[in-house]
Amino acid sequence: MLKVRKADYEAVRQHGEETYPHECCGVLLGEINGEDRRVSSIARCGNTRTDSPQNRYHIDPKELVRIQREGRERGEDIVGFYHSHPDHPARWSATDLAEAHWFGCSYVITSVEKGKAAITNSFELNGSDEGDKKLMDEKIEVET
């Protein structure tokens, strides 16, 4: 299960509206407790796929290094990532799965339809290695 504060949940969705018709992307920071991930902050990232931003995203690893370092200083770990699907369902694609490598982390996807955030779903990357990985539906608990 992914637990997230309402403000951060809305901020993830709003990011997708701001970057529409391009995909937005960012990092979820917090802590992992067994099967649950709790988000305590989010970090927006740039999408380096300027060649195809309407349907692809990539986060510069250099940005991740900085975000990870700043998170460590606050006692936070990377617990997941988010991105948006402009005018496409909030479901993982074959590309999303092929490019997912952070096992045990959450991948949050928001469908943004005609500029408005619609559905937000979360998926946990399960498996033991690249050969058996799968993105499994997980519940999002929005804390008010």
Binding site: E23, I32, H58, P61, T95, D96, G104
Partner: protein, 93 residues
Amino acid sequence: MTKIHIPTPLRQYSDKQPTVEVQAGTVAEALSGLVSKHPDLRRHLYTEDGKLRSFVNVYLNDEDVRYLQKEATAIKDSDTISIVPSIAGGWGN
């Protein structure tokens, strides 16, 4: 000693340690030291023919070692190494 920051998904293979310290003079030696201490990490970092997996980014401080001397890059005790698996995707195929 050089610190190696272990990303969240690989901590189950480093006895849950977020950071591992190794004595090394190059990035290659540091990573070798890391997998010696935690052998289960090897298959997640390297292919069967011993190459770093393409989605595994290795940073020396704030620099991608691909743009330095790759695994031959020299390191100092005050340096930190970060292992950062790639993040990408999108609805397009």
